[in-house]
């Protein structure tokens, strides 16, 4: 059929399809989803970065704060070392690709976290070990579409649906991003039963080493309204010199 279509008509159809791209994208000023995905995937990292973060875990029984230093190479390598409090100082987590190791200075041992524990809490927070390995990349593992405008908060509602065959915790993640699609405001994570399992809010936007990014991430698990975790970026050096050897077991176990 298509082969017999006059060329002009085929071109016209092609143009229509490209313009349409889904009903919502027809709206004026709709954001470029691919650009947004790239931005989300690399918002707090670079090819070599060093960051200082503060992790505050709020529980009904009390709140505790950990200060940590984070070395990264893109999304595949990360080393997180606890600097404070004193009791947990030196506890380190190394992520290489999909593997995770923890160094325990108290007993001077390194432990590899088994895959079965990827969904368990990381350092007692609402983040999971899986979050740390950031195995999901919005660009490659999800299909993003612009759903339309959002009211609370005001911005664009972008829906990410996991690509077929991608193993991951989230079937669907919905972001609300600001008008020019440069900053995430809220992310809602839907579990396999399509219920909101947790909500992440992004705020305290400020310039950090040449990038303007949210520096406070608050993670709220839906089934535990009385607890949450805050991740605060104190500073990030996006042009750091981080040798590959940083992400080795010997370096992990080196006394700090």
């Amino acid at each position: 059929m298509t082969a017999r279509l006059p060329l002009s008509m085929a071109l016209a159809l092609f143009a229509l399809a490209a313009l349409g791209g889904g009903g919502a994208a027809a709206q004026a000023g709709a954001p470029d989803v691919d650009a947004l995905s790239d931005r989300l995937d690399t918002m707090w990292t670079s090819s070599a970065s060093i960051a200082r973060i503060e992790l505050t875990v709020a529980r009904p029984t009390g709140t505790r704060t950990l200060r940590m230093r984070v070395w990264t190479h893109g999304n595949q390598r990360a080393l997180v070392v606890v600097e404070a409090p004193e009791r947990e100082r030196g506890t380190a987590t190394l992520r290489r690709d999909r593997s995770l190791w923890t160094y325990l200075p108290r007993v001077a041992r390194t432990m590899r976290i088994p895959p079965s524990m990827m969904l368990s809490s990381w350092m007692g927070s609402d983040f999971t070990n899986d979050d740390l390995t950031q195995s999901a990349q919005y660009r490659s593992d999800f299909v993003g579409t612009v759903v339309g405008r959002s009211d609370a908060p005001a911005g664009w509602l972008i829906r990410y649906v996991a690509r077929e065959g991608v193993v991951g915790l989230w079937r669907r993640v919905e972001f609300v991003v600001n008008d020019d699609a440069t900053l995430p405001l809220v992310a809602r994570y839907f579990d396999r039963r399509d219920r909101v399992a947790r909500v992440m809010t992004f705020d305290e936007v400020r310039p950090v080493d040449g990038r303007t990014i949210p520096t406070r991430l608050v993670l709220q698990p839906t089934d535990h309204p009385d607890q949450h975790t805050e991740l605060h970026y104190l500073d990030i050096d996006f042009d750091a010199s981080v040798p590959e050897s940083t992400f080795s077991l010997t370096e992990l176990e080196r006394g700090r």
């Binding site: 947990e88 325990l104 007993v107 041992r109 590899r112 007692g124």
Partner: protein, 412 residues
């Protein structure tokens, strides 16, 4: 109501056809024997199941923080453990009370970690009755020595003397980690403990997970398992226990309770079936006996025996037959149950398996032998049942006898 003469006549009548009588008595005896045998097995089976579940793991009554039942989070603790245990031990009917800590943790011998369940418990208490029953003294956890479930140990390639790193989360949310030494391998019917359990002394767990004088569970053992519900009520009424969840094993394991209740109903069904068979036997015997004696019965009526007396006589014959049968059955049944109790019955064989495989309930393998026993009520129910059934079954032949026309009856 029943005068001696009637009874004597009835007794003499029984001897008329000895073979028929013996058959009736035998049938009823067999019925009672079947009832006692199933009752005995059922009692033993319930006992061993309840014991298998409550012995190592459940206890008879448990005390938890309110949300523990659904969430099992380490920070859901019971505080002032020592004080509370003292109060519990002072309660009448309490044989033993101890505290436990349960928390998930990562455990590694080398680098590769595995998910484990840490159980901190009162070692001396649980080695006499509880999870550590049967563990050799020198292997019991103490200090930083831990027992590891047999399957878990096999999977990790652990043996006695190996060092273990434990990584978990303290009650305050901080990282808990420490080194332990395997003091022994724990063989237990509790599947969870066998597959993932690392058992340490309560004090070691309290220290590692920063929970001094706190625990996740208080477990009570009652002198008598059947008083668990009443004991739970008494515990809940104790000072300072009002904010806590207090449950008996009957509430903790509702399916077990249901199963036990169902077993009771099943016993009644067996009793009913057997009684119907007994009724048929008695009715048949009495019908035969009365039809055969029409002439004689007619004669008795003719010489002045009242119809009511005839009814009493026939019923007395039936009841005596029934009681003799049930007595013989009780003797045989009691002997059988006593013999089985002495020798034990293999549970697996009872379940129709010859390979000696185990039956599991609540992740606890129920294995070994059961020891049947009888209640007085099991025996009494047979006596009462057979007596009632004999009377009912004899009513028709008795009334038939009472309505006989003496002259016609004698002529036949």
């Amino acid at each position: 109501m029943l005068d001696a003469t009637t009874l004597r006549i009835a007794w003499r009548n029984l001897g008329r056809n000895k073979r028929r009588m013996a058959l009736a008595v035998f049938a009823i005896a067999l019925a009672q024997l079947a009832v006692l045998w199933t009752d005995g097995l059922m009692n033993g089976w319930i006992d061993s199941t309840v014991h298998a579940l409550t012995g190592p793991m459940l206890g008879h009554v448990q005390v938890h923080a309110p949300r523990w039942e659904n969430e099992h989070a380490i920070e859901q603790t019971v505080d002032h453990v020592d004080e509370r245990l003292a109060a519990l031990r002072a309660l009448p009917g309490v044989e033993h009370a101890s505290a436990r800590i349960y928390t998930p943790a990562l455990v590694a011998r080398d680098t590769d970690a595995r998910a484990a369940m840490i159980i901190g418990l009162d070692v001396s208490g649980e080695s006499t009755s509880g999870l550590l029953e049967g563990v050799p003294r020198d292997q019991l956890p103490s200090g930083h020595g831990v027992l590891v479930g047999a399957t878990f140990a096999r999977q990790l390639g652990l043996s006695v003397g190996d060092e273990l790193v434990v990584l978990g989360q303290s009650v305050d949310g901080s990282i808990a980690n420490d080194l332990f030494t395997v003091s022994g391998i724990l063989r237990t019917p509790v599947e969870e403990v066998d597959r993932r359990g690392v058992v340490m002394a309560l004090a070691a767990a309290q220290e590692t997970f920063a929970m001094p004088d706190r625990a996740n569970e208080l477990t009570l053992r009652a002198h008598d398992a059947s008083s668990a519900d009443a004991l739970a009520a008494r515990v809940a009424a104790l000072d300072g226990f009002d904010g806590l969840d207090v449950q008996s094993y009957r509430e903790l394991a509702p399916e077990l309770t249901e199963f036990v209740d169902m077993a009771g109903a099943y016993g009644l069904i067996v009793l009913a079936l057997v009684m119907i068979a007994a009724a048929a036997g008695v009715a048949n015997t009495m019908l035969m006996a009365t039809f055969e004696r029409r002439r004689e019965l007619g004669m008795m009526l003719a010489i002045g025996a009242s119809p009511a007396r005839m009814v009493r006589m026939v019923i007395a014959e039936a009841v005596v037959t029934g009681l003799v049968g049930v007595t013989v059955g009780t003797l045989l049944g009691a002997l059988l149950v006593f013999w089985q109790s002495r020798n034990g019955v293999d549970i697996a064989a009872l379940g129709g398996s010859s390979s000696g495989s185990e039956l599991a309930m609540y992740g606890v393998a129920v294995a070994g032998e059961l020891h049947p026993w009888l209640r007085f009520s099991d025996v009494a129910l047979g006596f009462v049942g057979v007596t009632l059934v004999s009377i009912l079954a004899a009513l028709w032949p008795a009334l038939h006898t009472a309505r006989l026309e003496p002259v016609q009856a004698m002529r036949s």
